[in-house]
Symmetry: C2
Subunit: 141 residues, 2 copies
Amino acid sequence: MFRLDESLGFLLNRAAIAMRWALEERLVRYGLTAPQWAILARLWEEDGQSPSVMGKSLHFDKPTATGIIDRLEQKVLVKKTRDPEDRRVIRVYLTGKGRELQKHLPQFASEVNQMAFRGMKNRDIKFLKAHLRKIWDNFRM
Amino acid sequence: MFRLDESLGFLLNRAAIAMRWALEERLVRYGLTAPQWAILARLWEEDGQSPSVMGKSLHFDKPTATGIIDRLEQKVLVKKTRDPEDRRVIRVYLTGKGRELQKHLPQFASEVNQMAFRGMKNRDIKFLKAHLRKIWDNFRM
DNA sequence: GGTATATGGTTAGCATACTAACTATATCCT
DNA sequence: AGGATATAGTTAGTATGCTAACCATATACC
């Protein structure tokens, strides 16, 4: 007999929701959402990436990536330019305002991760992350 | 320095997405989505529950629960009736067609859970579930 | 009894996710 | 060169999440 509340999918999803809520709680005064934060985080790692490259690495499909980036552009946090080398490609660059946020926002994600880990040993955290990677791999192969 | 790809939130979310995709792959020929499946699963456990009770236990807010249930009603899988004892409350009941699905659909969730667990020991699965519950609790308390 | 408060549900509006169809550009291949 | 194929992005349409405002009903309490 299948018990929804005890199933891995349910527990996994619930934990992911809790972490997203905790992050968005901190982002709300910046007028940002978790997916918008994720795109910014990619650009802090490397500026000028294309929507499809960022979308693939964050598991956003093309229209989703387009929409999130457009809303970041409306807030003047990023700027879209056409790549002159390959005119199919859009390159997304941080504005000064977008780069400024890097001083404060990554902190929030670290805080939320710390909260999630409360009461766990370092060994447990390693184990947990390894198994989450394994679940992903189990559906890729 | 914060590394998105190594963060718990990212890994957790990615694993949850993989499981949702695998479930929806199996549901698509029934014209159902994962959230619709979840509401049906609650009704198979106990018929006649209200949208807000099911919503709370599945972490859907009120408008989300209303929408999902309405779409299930359009597909004639459930029927909404007003509770005569407390006329604020809606009671959602499975139709014959909705009950019929219980023969096939819970199987899918079991399959997806099995896939996720591939290559893990029973002890590891217990550990993983316990830690996912702990993450949830860490944000509740 | 009558008013304040709380609860269940709906509606409107916006931000993700997703599919399918489309445009524009680039590459392959003969 | 020119046609088939592939890739990057957009648009349209639907389903999920979410907030805020609202209506109807129930409960508390004076």
